[in-house]
């Protein structure tokens, strides 16, 4: 504990040193102020990404260095800036103060609170732009990150440190999948460490973000989550910086050896914000008027998703970027860019959504390139069959709709397919734990549901889970280990299922 006299002495010493050093300041003058971008003369010592302070109190970040001028994006309102106003450089690169106190908070990309609570103090300053960890520090993805969604965990598994794109039209359930993934990270026991979740809202309506926060709060998931919000009404500069701020926060926890899940909702709007800034900066426009470095914009962000090896703390950052397509067109510029950067994609289709298949995942176009290695043996043992049978069903179903007689084997396969489709349906915000995911998928794959009517599958599933939980808790314990179930356990499951079918 420092004595009060010592504190005053330290302050006095500091006071004596004020003004002893010659202070050199590099200044500039505002030449132009257009749509949140200020062009200034002078500032010959400014660096790219450096914070500058304007005379009227606002701040900005240097984005362009020209021969005579410097272009600055403003981090606040630009109303009161006049031509000729003085600008000073700070010598600091744009960074965000991060500490454990951020958990449960809603902040803007500069770390300022948006939830009406106190500002975060004594945080560690983490730069927004950072070079991603190199190959020596990394290890391959080997631990699953469970979303609690049967279709994803079984067929498109995500591993810690992976970058999995969620892509689809508007109103197809992209954000719901992300929220489900956050809710599912809630620790089951007191000893279990939760995965820190960061939800970055870019260019979203404030009402949508409020709903997300409300949902997380209702599910008691806010205490291990952080929401970074740069809404539709915020300047394009903040929308551009938001994902980097989210990633910087994730890196703080990564350094502590923790596992972090970051959701970028969504990178289409991020690209729009960057396009707006680039056009105002008069950078040459390319395809769809995006600047030439639009690929690098997203690749340098998503490269920061990582699974570190044991020597470097063994932490991970898993990234779930979201892209909104127009009319299901995944061949547009930004979707193809992000698809090529990420380690797989979950493709949601509006016609599947409208026909009641929710989550509306198009299994054919969805893929996880590295997640398979992280899947638990239990889920792996049932999921291989599932994907194949579902693909065959889709193929046969498209032919069967023309009518005509079908042979017994085909009819049986179509019936099985219908049941698989039905079992993979899942209500929003109700993620399942792995044992229950296994029970559902195993029931349909092993043919135990062949005699249950298709329209009763969902009711069957709900009651079946409750029945097993109540009467066979040992099965749940066995499946919780994640190991491949033994023949004995499988026999027990079959026996329990038959027993339940009698009373259903």
């Amino acid at each position: 504990m420092i004595d009060s006299k010592d504190i005053i002495k330290q302050l006095e010493d500091r006071l004596m040193t004020f003004g002893q050093d010659l202070k050199v300041q590099n200044i500039g003058r505002v030449v132009k102020n257009t749509d949140g971008v200020v062009v200034a003369s002078g500032l010959s010592n400014a660096k790219i990404g450096e914070i500058v302070y304007l005379e009227e109190g606002s701040s900005g970040v240097v984005l362009n260095l020209d021969e005579d001028y410097v272009s600055i994006i403003l981090l606040g309102k630009a109303d009161s800036i006049k031509e000729g106003d003085e600008i000073k450089i700070s010598g600091k690169i744009l960074s965000i103060d991060v500490s454990d106190e951020l958990l449960g908070r809603v902040i803007n990309p500069l770390g300022e609170p948006l939830d009406g609570k106190a500002r975060i103090k004594n945080g560690k300053s983490i730069p927004l732009e950072r070079i991603a960890p190199g190959v020596i520090e990394r290890e391959s993805v080997n631990t699953p990150l469970k979303t609690g969604i049967k279709a994803i965990d079984s067929m498109i598994p995500i591993g810690r440190g992976q970058r999995e794109l969620i892509i689809g039209d508007r109103q197809t359930g992209k954000t719901s999948i992300a929220i489900d993934a956050i809710i599912n990270q809630k620790p089951m026991t007191k000893d279990q460490q939760p995965i820190i979740c960061i939800y970055v809202a870019i260019g979203q309506k404030q009402s949508t973000v409020a709903q997300v926060i409300d949902k997380l709060s209702q599910a008691n998931s806010l205490n291990y989550s952080i929401v970074v919000n740069a809404g539709a009404s915020d300047p394009a500069s903040l929308q551009y910086l938001a994902p980097y701020a989210g990633c910087a926060i994730a890196e703080y926890f990564l350094e502590k050896g923790k596992d972090v899940l970051v959701i970028y909702d969504d990178l289409s709007k991020h690209a729009w914000a960057y396009r707006q800034i680039s056009l105002v900066l008069r950078r040459p426009a390319g395809r769809e008027a995006y600047p030439g470095d639009i690929f690098y914009l997203h690749s340098r962000l998503l490269e920061r998703a990582v699974k570190l090896n044991k020597e470097n703390g063994n932490g991970s950052i898993t990234a779930l970027p979201i892209i909104e397509t127009q009319a299901n067109d995944i061949s547009a510029y930004i979707p193809t860019n992000v698809i090529s950067i990420t380690d797989g994609q979950i493709y949601l289709q509006s016609d599947l959504f409208n026909s009641g298949i929710r989550p509306a995942i198009n299994v054919g176009n969805s893929v996880s390139r590295v997640g398979g290695a992280a899947q638990t043996q239990a889920i792996k043992s049932v999921s291989g069959k599932l994907r194949l049978e579902l693909a065959q069903y889709r193929e046969l179903a498209s032919f069967a709709q023309f009518g005509g007689e079908l042979d017994a084997a085909t009819s049986q396969q179509i019936e099985r397919g219908k049941r698989i489709t039905e079992i993979l349906k899942q209500p929003r915000f109700q993620p399942l734990s792995e044992p229950f995911e296994f029970l559902s998928i195993n029931a349909v794959v092993s043919g135990l549901l062949n005699d249950v009517p298709v329209d009763r599958i969902q009711a069957f599933e709900k009651d079946y889970h409750a029945f097993i939980k109540r009467n066979y808790p040992k099965i749940i314990d066995n499946l919780s280990k994640g190991e491949k179930p033994t023949d004995e356990v499988l026999k027990q499951i079959e026996k329990a299922t038959q027993e339940f079918k009698k009373i259903f």
């Binding site: 003004g19 010659l22 003369s41 005579d68």
Partner: protein, 112 residues
């Protein structure tokens, strides 16, 4: 006319390192409004680069120390009572503060 050509015109506007009004007016006659605006800006920048402004809280006489510090530059002395004590040197976009006002400003920003 692009910026590079205007820069050349700015350099040509000087005779023996002194801005020549005749050359300036004859150049200005050939320029469009936007070019003239850019030409004036560049003239101002050039003048700023050539001059060093020394602000003091009292009327200052020429000081050889500054001339040594900034060789090949014209030293312009100005009075600025708001500095209270000390000097402020403005060399193009670099400002050297060594005055009481700056010290007090630093204390205020440290406290608040």
């Amino acid at each position: 006319m692009n910026r590079k050509k205007l820069k050349t015109l700015v350099l040509e506007s000087y005779k023996n390192d002194i801005l020549d009004s005749n050359i300036v007016y004859s150049i200005a006659n050939f320029l469009t409004r936007s070019e003239l605006k850019e030409y004036i800006n560049q003239l101002k920048n050039h003048e700023n680069k050539k001059n060093v402004i020394v602000l003091t809280s009292f009327a200052a006489n020429s000081n050889k120390g500054f001339e040594k510090l900034f060789p090949n530059k014209k030293i312009v002395y100005k009075k600025d009572p708001s500095l209270m004590l000390g000097v402020k040197v403005v060399d193009n976009d670099n400002v050297y503060e060594f005055n009481l006002k700056n010290t007090l400003d630093n204390i205020i920003s440290y406290i608040t």
